[in-house]
Structure formats: structure tokens, C-alpha cells
Amino acid sequence: MSDRMEDSAILRAQGLAVGYDGAPLVSGIDLAVAAHGVVTLVGPNGAGKSTLLKTVAGLLAPVGGAVWLSGRPLEQLDPHERALELSVMLTDRLRTELLTCADVVEMGRYPHTGRMGVPTSTDLAKVREAMQTTRVWDLRDKDFMQLSDGQRQRVMLARAICQEPRLLVLDEPTSYLDVHYQIELLAVLRELVETRGVGVLMSLHELPLVWKVSDWVVCMKDGVITAQGTPQEMCAPEVIDELFDLEPGTFDPLTGMIDLRK
């Protein structure tokens, strides 16, 4: 393989296998995330979505295959270079001690600050902008541990945004949010994608939202990618019934409506 591929995609995976301790959980992953693109992973619990996201983020070593970030093989990037390319929001619960929300968000400026990590006024402006984007600016002086789960999630998203990456990697970014903030978060993502040209790779459980926000949908199940395509192609009931082992007619993927008559 050549070191640098001429490639418009921010992220490209070819024959990638991901898993723990060298044992593949999901293999044969081929996917690409372009600038201005939102790629969403859907599939049942345990399908390996988080494992794939962690591998892409550099937290797990790939078990096989290859990943390129902006045309460079992922394993050739050092942590600092990787941090300039992508930022991450995980599902791990964060426990902080005496840190305000602004402190937590400011951590996203890490790759941009100097030796001692003292933020410049530019850094502070970026912190503020990111916090205003995710509607948490009013919480800036509050202790992070005193927030509700939904507020924390928005703070963590602000943190990921103010890192100013080319690619956002988000693991179930809407899991603790109510409908209002789910919609708002996805609107924020679309805005970032369209105005700043970032790419987004995320996992999402709420199917009706998936069709709205995504440019490309990847279905994962039983250690493989079962199907991928545009939301229009993937929202077909046959695809979703197959993916989640549903009785035909019990679930409408477009509206999320459930039918329990049987």
C-alpha cells in the first residue's frame, strides 16, 4: 500500500477488522466518510458499532485491514496528529472533580494550546462558540457533576466540537437526550457539516432520526456489514426487519411506530 492515497474521503476503511485482544468482532469493513458527510452506523446491541468507533478513534488497535485518515494510514499518526484530525464523544460516563463545564469543554482545545495548556483568548472564544452552539453557555460555571445526563452530553459535544477536527466520531450522541434536544443536536451536526465541512461518523439508535440526518447508512450485524447505502435505500422495512430480527409489519422504520397487535 502506498503511504498516501489520493483520496477525497477524510476516513476510509478497507477490509478492516475490529475487536479486542486480536480476536475480530467485526471484519471485512469497507467504508468511507467524506467531508460534508454524515455516516451513521445502525444495528442491534452488540453488533460492534462502539468497537468500530473506538478503533477509528485510535483507542483500539485494528485487528486486520487498513484505515486511512485524510489519506494517511491511521497507525502512522501520532496521538497529537490524530487529535487534530478527529475528536470523539464516547458513551463512557465521565467522573470529574471540581471542574466547571467550561473547564471540560476547554479540554477540547488540548491539541491547540501550548506546552502548559494555558488557553489564549482565541481558545476561549472557541470554547464559548462551541458552548453556544450546543446551548450550554449558561451552564459554563456549573460543576460538571451536577448536570443532568442530557446536559452532560451537550457539554461533551461542545468539547468535541471545539477541538476543531475534520472528523467527529460520536457514539450514540442522543442516548440521554429528550426529543427536543435530539432534534436540536442533529440540527447542530447538519450545520457543522454544511458550514465547516466536517465529516461525521456516528452510531445512532433512533431510526427515524437516522434517515433525517444521514447521508449514508451502514447496517451492522453478526460481525459483518450487512448492507450500506443512502437513507432512502436503507429505510426499507425489509432491510430493517432483517437487521433487527423483526416480524414483518411490527415496526415502521420511517416513523418509529410500533405495532403490538399480534
Partner: protein
């Protein structure tokens, strides 16, 4: 809307004032306690005479002798080693994400104690004096070995209490082995060992002070230089890696520095408990933040202050008898840990 408003918006100015006040207050208290430590004791030296002895070139007389060859080295030792302990505690707490991790609780001090006791018995048997660098090296090796055990165990237990239990058990094992060794050692060694293994700053020589300053000061500077990755590590290793911390290199630096600091203390003063847990906790509450950039200097000053006060108490409460300094630090430090755990529990229920 200028930089001014922005800075104020993030509460930075109020914070800066608070930080300055806390650091200045701690520095003042360290100085005041230092004077008290120098003046107070079996021979009381008046403050005016102290000035003359320290800065006026008054080098003769009993008082000058007491200050220069006994109290001053002991004072510097208590300050440096107290600061070292507090920093070692802060590093371990950040690394394990556990507020009651510390060199004593995790068995690292006991590992160092075992290695030092072995060296004392084996080497002292042959040579008349044990060189301080030899004890420090032994303590470092013992610390690293105990730390390695804790690390291996921490990989297998994910719970915070599991880590502490493992550490306490390692501490017991090392203490038991030390006790076996003491049983087989000859009488003169035991006298040496016993006073040291209880924890004490007494009998510090200027050579000791030189060695500890040469180790503790650069190591503390390194800890301060690591403020930025330490801050990122507060969010957990995963997030730290994704913002650009080289986890492997940082982990290595942390293990070496905390073992060096904790080992150095054990080599010179024996195992001293609770400084490493209580001081960082109180320092963070005083500063109302856990940002390492300000917490690191506050911890060093706080650790120095805590040990100076405890040493003063240890040698004056039952004068002319000396209590072990570890007993005093435990007496003041352990309640802080209890208060911390109780406070944490209450907050959890309130939510």
C-alpha cells in the same frame, strides 16, 4: 464584547484571585511554621536570636549548633518530603481516577520500606554506615516493584474499592516480610530499623538533605511540567488519548515520578501515612478547582506545611519523647479521608 468580557465570562479573574490568595497564604504559613519549628524544642531559641544565627553569621554557641546541625536539616527534610508525598498522592489519584489512592494506601511506601529494611540489614552488617544513595535506590526499586503489583491487579479489577483493597494487602505483605527480617536481624540493627520504620524526620544530616533536594526538586518540577497531560487524564485515559496524550509515555513518566517521590520519602523518613491523600483533597477544595496547573504547586506547599506542623507536634507533645510523625499525620489525615467519603456519598443521594 472584548477579551475582557470573555475572560470574565469564564470566571477566570475571580479564579485567579483565589489561586493567588491560596498560594500566598500557604507560602506564608509554611514560613511561619518553619520559624516555629526552628525556635521550638528542648532548647527554646528566641526569634531575634534565630535571625542572627541564620542571617547574621552567628555560628558559635549551643543555639547556633542546634539550629544549624539539627533543626534546619530536619526542617528542610520535613518540607521537601511532605511536598513529595503530596505530589505522589496527586499523581496516583489522577492516574487511577481514585480519590483515595496514595503511596501509603496502595502499598508503595511499604514496598519501599521492605527494600530499605533488607538493604539496611544486609549492608549494615558489613559496612559501618549505609550511604543514603544506597537506601534511596533500594526504596525506588521497592516502590516500583509494589507499583507493578498494583498495576497488574488494577488491570483485573475495574472497581475503585478493589484497587484499594489490593494496595492495602500488598502493604500488609510487605510489612509482614519486614517484620520477619527484623526478627532475624541483630540488636543494633533493630534499634536503627525500629525508629525508622515508624516514620520520623529526626537525625537528618546535611548530606541527606542534599540527596533529597537533588531528587525531590527536579521530580516536582517534572510533575509541574506534566500539568497539561494530567489535566487531560482527569477525563479518563480514553479521552486523554483522543485529545493527543501519548498514553504509554505518560503512564511511564507517572510511574517513575510517583515511585521516585514516594521512595525518596520512605528512604529518609520511613513510611508516612495519609499526607498523599489528605493534602491534594484539601488543596483542591481550597482552590475550588482540580486544574493541575494550580493544584500541583498548592499540593507541594500544602504537603510541606502539613509535615512541618505534624513534625512540630510529634516532637513537642510528649517532649522529651518523640512520637512517630506517621502517627500524627494519620491522626489528622484519616479524618479528612472519612469526611471526603461521607461527603461524596451524601452528594450522590442528593441528586
Amino acid at each position: 464584547m472584548g477579551d475582557r468580557t470573555l475572560t470574565d465570562d469564564l470566571g477566570r479573574r475571580a479564579r485567579r484571585t483565589r489561586t493567588a490568595a491560596v498560594l500566598a497564604g500557604l507560602a506564608f504559613l509554611v514560613l511561619a511554621t518553619a520559624v516555629a519549628n526552628l525556635c521550638h524544642g528542648s532548647v527554646v531559641v528566641p526569634v531575634r536570636e534565630l535571625g542572627a544565627i541564620l542571617f547574621g553569621g552567628l555560628r558559635t554557641g549551643t543555639n547556633a549548633q542546634v539550629i544549624w546541625s539539627i533543626r534546619l536539616p530536619r526542617l528542610i527534610a520535613a518540607g521537601l518530603l511532605g511536598g513529595a508525598l503530596a505530589l505522589a498522592g496527586l499523581l496516583l489519584q489522577t492516574f487511577f481516577g481514585n480519590p483515595i489512592a496514595g503511596p501509603y494506601i496502595l502499598g508503595i511506601s511499604s514496598g519501599a520500606k521492605l527494600a530499605v529494611a533488607t538493604t539496611m540489614i544486609v549492608v549494615v552488617g558489613r559496612a559501618a554506615m549505609t550511604a543514603s544513595w544506597m537506601l534511596v535506590s533500594a526504596a525506588f526499586v521497592g516502590s516500583v516493584a509494589a507499583m507493578a503489583c498494583v498495576l497488574v491487579a488494577s488491570r483485573r479489577t475495574s472497581s475503585a474499592s478493589g484497587l484499594i483493597v489490593v494496595g492495602v494487602m500488598i502493604g500488609y505483605i510487605c510489612s509482614a516480610l519486614t517484620d520477619f527480617l527484623v526478627t532475624f536481624a541483630s540488636d543494633t540493627h533493630i534499634v536503627n530499623l525500629r525508629s525508622w520504620s515508624m516514620g520520623s524526620f529526626s537525625g537528618t544530616s546535611w548530606t541527606d538533605v542534599q540527596v533529597m533536594a537533588a531528587l525531590v526538586l527536579p521530580a516536582s518540577a517534572c510533575v509541574f511540567a506534566l500539568s497539561k497531560p494530567l489535566a487531560a487524564y482527569q477525563m479518563g485515559e480514553g479521552y486523554a488519548q483522543t485529545v493527543g496524550v501519548n498514553a504509554r509515555r505518560f503512564r511511564l513518566a507517572l510511574i517513575v515520578l510517583s515511585s521516585l517521590l514516594a521512595g525518596c520519602v520512605t528512604a529518609f523518613a520511613g513510611p508516612i501515612s495519609f499526607v498523599g491523600i489528605a493534602v491534594p483533597h484539601v488543596a483542591k477544595r481550597l482552590l475550588k478547582t482540580s486544574r493541575p496547573l494550580v493544584v500541583v504547586p498548592a499540593c507541594f506547599l500544602g504537603g510541606a506545611l502539613f509535615c512541618l506542623v505534624c513534625d512540630l507536634i510529634a516532637r513537642s507533645v510528649f517532649a522529651p519523647n518523640e512520637v512517630s510523625v506517621s502517627a500524627v499525620t494519620a491522626l489528622f489525615g484519616a479524618p479528612v479521608v472519612i469526611a471526603m467519603l461521607v461527603g461524596r456519598q451524601r452528594r450522590r443521594y442528593e441528586r
